[in-house]
């Protein structure tokens, strides 16, 4: 198996600590803005809405003092894909496309409608990728879990396990480096014994069986650690009474204003297309 050290520095997202006004927002406010951008960007077909959704994360990045180039760097590997998709859009003409032709080269022509479709596709990807990239840049792991609890707290009154879900996510974050370490040591141990992880086999079941000496011990050790953690939590009476939080992130007036703005922004993005047509 190649690249034994590949996963030495795993990280989900790329949190950068700063004292910007965006960093200071409560986690739930950041989630609301993430949803306010992601939902219209994924469901709307309107070009102006998608354009606005692509601009919003960049404006926040400026406020958060996050390098916009750094944020867009994740977009680079997508460009070849967009190039291929754009070429096929230009090659295949839309049925009933009566819009003006921008460029024509022999039988291939690019109409306004096709150009708008290509730009909308690129902007939709850019909006979602920069929104998620920025969220992970301004929200720490702890805040990500706490934000889940706050976000779902209205549903908690109806029995939704918001607190349990937040704790599950927090535990997953804590376990990621442990599991990574386990994977690394088991891969090295098995490779030292001559395991080739089925690299010469094309039979998928045989290949899966060759990976068993890696997946089974790592999963079992994760489960054993989970059980030990569970016993420790029960010994400390977790779940027997009301729990308190070590970090309170209530937020002030600016936070409340940002929340109202997020809801207003999302509503506007979903309603505006009906007035444009």
């Amino acid at each position: 198996m190649k690249g034994l050290e590949f996963w030495k520095h795993v990280s989900i997202g790329r949190y950068v600590e700063s004292d910007s006004p965006v960093h200071a927002l409560a986690p739930v406010t950041k989630y609301l803005w993430l949803l306010a951008v992601m939902v219209p960007a994924s469901v709307s077909g309107s070009a102006p809405v998608i354009c606005a959704c692509a601009i919003a994360p960049l404006a926040f990045a400026k406020l958060a003092r996050v390098n916009i180039g750094f944020l867009l760097s994740g977009f680079m590997p997508v460009l070849p894909f967009l190039g291929i998709a754009a070429t096929f859009q230009a090659l295949l003409s839309w049925p009933g496309d009566a819009s003006a032709i921008i460029v024509a080269l022999g039988p291939v022509s690019l109409s306004v409608r096709e150009a708008v479709a290509i730009a909308t596709m690129a902007l939709r990807f850019a909006a979602m990728m920069t929104a998620i990239g920025l969220f992970t840049s301004v929200t720490s792991e702890g805040d990500t879990a706490r934000g889940i609890e706050d976000l779902f707290s209205p549903l908690a009154r109806a029995g939704f396990p918001a607190r349990e879900l937040a704790l599950t996510i927090a535990i997953a974050f804590r376990f990621i480096p442990i599991v990574t370490g386990e994977f690394e040591s088991v891969v090295k141990a098995q490779a030292a014994r001559g395991a080739d992880f089925g690299t010469r086999s094309r039979n998928p079941v045989r290949k899966a069986r060759a990976y068993l000496p890696l997946i089974v011990p790592v999963t079992i050790r994760a489960l054993e650690r989970a059980e030990a953690l569970g016993e420790a939590m029960e010994a400390r009476c977790y779940g027997t009474g009301p729990a308190t939080r070590y970090v309170e992130s209530a937020g002030g007036a600016a936070d409340m204003a940002a929340r109202i703005l997020a809801v207003a922004y999302a509503a506007a993005m979903l309603v505006v297309p009906f007035f444009l047509h």
């Binding site: 590949f6 894909f81 859009q89 990728m129 535990i171 599991v179 899966a208 989970a226 569970g230 029960e234």
Partner: protein
């Protein structure tokens, strides 16, 4: 078997971490041949559903979905990755894996446990493949037709053939993994006979 809430939380968190590590490293993909690879990062979701029930399965499915969403958005590697930056493709279908796997496990639970776990693995994997491809087809019709260079009418046939080829092979791999992990864990649990967490009946 009544499971304690604490146990469900910690097992979901640990298996969520296994799934996340598989999703962000090459460990989640078994290289097959011709550049194709088999995805195995949904297997912790199935294991969670089999061991701790559908809610744990859904929680791990959520962690897996969010990880693949963040990875697709921040470090895309494949041509299809940008489509996975949409939560309707990367998160929503993954929430159903746990319920499907748990249902399949319950149906066969009375029989031999490794067999029931294998069936749950295959069913969970097939539900993952089918729902992700369905979501891809519904959400990214225009992008996919552009990428494959085909008419929108031919898209269901292409996605269907992917579901049949890759999907069935992944289901077989998932059956092997789930059956092995669940048997090993159940064996350890029953063999050592140590005290169980409170609230966990027998």
């Amino acid at each position: 078997m009544e499971r304690s809430n604490v146990r469900r939380i910690v097992v979901s968190g640990a298996l969520g971490a296994v799934s996340a590590v598989m999703a962000i490293t090459p460990l989640g993909y078994l290289p097959w041949f011709g550049g194709a690879s088999l995805t195995i990062m949904h297997i912790p979701v199935i294991i969670a559903a089999v061991l701790e029930g559908p809610i744990a399965g859904t929680a791990v499915g959520l962690i897996f979905g969010v990880t693949s969403l963040v990875k697709a958005a921040t470090a895309p590697i494949g041509p299809l990755d940008p489509l996975f930056a949409n939560p309707l493709v990367s998160i929503l279908p993954r929430l159903a894996i746990g319920f499907a796997a748990w249902g399949a496990f319950r149906l066969f639970r009375g029989k031999v446990t490794p067999l029931a776990a294998g069936v749950a693995g295959a069913v969970g994997s097939m539900v993952n493949t089918a729902l992700v491809l369905l979501a891809l087809g519904l959400v990214g019709t225009r992008e996919l037709t552009g990428m494959f260079g085909v008419d929108a009418g031919a898209l269901p046939a292409i996605l269907g053939s992917i579901a049949l080829t890759n999907g069935l092979v992944e289901a077989a791999a998932a059956a092997v993994f789930t059956s092995s992990v669940v048997s090993a864990w159940k064996g350890i649990e029953s063999a050592r006979g140590r005290s169980k967490l409170s609230g966990e009946g027998s």
